[in-house]
Symmetry: none
Subunit: 218 residues, 4 copies
């Protein structure tokens, strides 16, 4: 016997038609980050999103397409956060750099979104297309941002001359490594020397700033 739908209550099926893809992407993000592409089963993604396996394929042509959509969705969000801050900053470049790193951790590294950086690094060889996309959308802008900051330091007479492209990555690498570590080794090795992200960044920032600065007067 079919139950008569009451106009005031939404039908069971109606729940959130247009919200579906988003729920699926969120569930997929969690699982891909946790298990990687191959070990994630689409059925589990569907289940976590509260729909059936068939429904997932209604929105995404294949598991690969789902993966790409997850990455694209989450990549777009995190671009161009710090550019404004740099432009507005008044203090020393060392302080600016330290501030940016801390902000980066608070706004990105500590959130679930950092999982997709890990994801991309992990699966890059299986999805070159994604890797290139990431390169363009995230790496390029990010390196430009840091390059600008280092340039600012040099121009203002605070920093030494640098091997610019590599110096940029010397600044970024520990941050990128940190999110990889957080999503790979850290969950498995609970035993020793648990890294405290904030302290790690503080130590890295201090070493960087000192390393970048011109010798104290000389």
């Amino acid at each position: 016997m079919p139950r008569a739908p009451s106009p005031s209550a939404p039908h069971r099926r109606e729940r959130r038609k247009e919200a579906r893809p988003g729920e699926l992407l969120e569930a997929a993000l969690d699982l891909f980050v946790e298990k990687g592409f191959a070990a994630t089963r689409v059925e589990e993604v569907a289940a976590r999103a509260g729909v059936s396996k068939g429904t997932l394929f209604l929105y995404f042509q294949s598991k690969e397409e789902l993966f790409k959509a997850v990455v694209r969705e989450n990549l777009s969000r995190q671009v161009s956060a710090g550019a404004a801050e740099v432009a507005a900053y008044k203090g020393s470049t060392g302080d600016l750099l330290t501030h940016l790193m801390q902000q980066w951790w608070a706004r990105f590294g500590a959130t679930k979104a950092s999982g997709i950086s890990k994801l991309i690094m992990s699966e890059a060889t299986n999805f070159p297309e994604i890797a290139q996309f990431y390169q363009q959308e995230v790496v390029e802008p990010g390196t430009r941002l840091i390059r600008g900051v280092l340039r600012r330091g040099i121009d203002r007479g605070e920093f030494r001359e640098l091997d610019m492209p590599h110096a940029v990555f010397a600044v970024l690498a520990p941050l990128l490594w940190l999110v990889m570590w957080k999503h790979s080794m850290a969950p498995c090795c609970e035993v020793t020397h648990r890294i405290d992200p904030e302290k790690f960044i503080a130590q890295h920032a201090e070493l960087m700033v000192r390393g970048l600065h011109k010798e104290k007067q000389s």
Copy 2:
């Protein structure tokens, strides 16, 4: 081009039990690095080693055991390489640190073996056992080594006091990130700012050493 069989040439069913594991490990290393653990098929490993699937299982109980053997073969032996150098080194600690990093790249980072560091980071959550093995066999000794060097610098009055555990990772992180990068993004993004590993390490080392050093007496 068919090769003419020479009477002294080995026959089709050549006995070379001693050589097999090595050949299989090499083939496995190649494929695991190229495709990751899950995407590598044991049959392909066997084929690349020039044997049948059954033969592989003659030497390795399972795909996972094969993987562990690859790790042991390629990582565990690299570990204690630097310890000796540290003990014998006479010069300044800054030079020692720079030297160690360059050696590490030459002996490990630049080789195919570095691919499995990337692999482990990528698949750690699916193989916690492997991750822990890596932690014990590689990460722990590596951090101990660096800690010893930093301690040497402090004891000799060259370096400042440090937040030791995090400083160690500040030194290591860019190196570990470099192998990740080399095996994930680098192959896909041939376009811009190709990182030159030696220059990157040089820049990192210089920044680190400057950052670690006491202020030039001021």
Copy 3:
């Protein structure tokens, strides 16, 4: 001969989840009885049930679980059949015993289900779990039933005192042997002395009853 699809006929991908397990169990019973556990391939079970291999694993976690389900389906239910009859029986214990044996043959021995008793005896050592299950679910209740009957005979002064545990099996053994025989030797040896189960049971029952009875007057 292609069957003309009638509009009311079920479509190719018919939904009949409720019917599937039963069809699979029946096919499995046939094949397990015919070939034994190890020699039966799940794919063939599925094919005989008209479904694909994957579908079988939709309903049974493993080949072994399928086997257990077959056992449960066909044996466990047969158990308590006779208990009621015993309780309600009014006549002599000798007649009761004879009656029970005949009923057992009609309801179990003569059916396909008896094949799994043979199967279990054959493969018991490879599946101790199954053997214990059979022991608990079938052997124990069965021996209890017979013990009750013998006790009834003794209590009513019809039967002699007995070495009870072994007398029980003296009663049961020929029946159990009969199903073994039916499913092992009988199909191969069509030649001589084909055993007629009903007559065999009649002869066994008569001998048993006479053997159990007190000496006529003495």
Copy 4:
């Protein structure tokens, strides 16, 4: 360096060339009885016989041929034991029957050889050829023997008239069941009501003899 063989000591390889097949058959008997045909691995048979897998195939064309040889070898041995005893026996037929059963257990049922009866029953459907062989070599002579004994009893006025073919199996069935039980359920179900073979046979014999005898007093 090859060791020079001393003439007085047998070479390692020479050990027992002609004993090999026998050792293999013995090992195979043990394992087939214990695990059944499918679950027995030829490598284990070879290992237990102290030779390599290849050597086994030097003597037996295939696993199936090995199985058949095991059965044939052990079947031949056990025929025509009791015929002489029957002919020479002077006492009552009831005592003769009881005596035969006890002897059968002592000389066959209790020995490893009984394992092949179990084996044949278990694998009969997979090896019809074997089953027919067993029928001719063992079952036929055995039933003839018992038939003779029953005939003796009737002719001497001790036993009643019988449904002869079925009476024969009524006598034999518990014995055959006993060896099946011993090699299947008994090893798994150590818990309750462990059957004592001698007592079981005693109880069976007593019931049979009483059941076969003419009514006392007449």
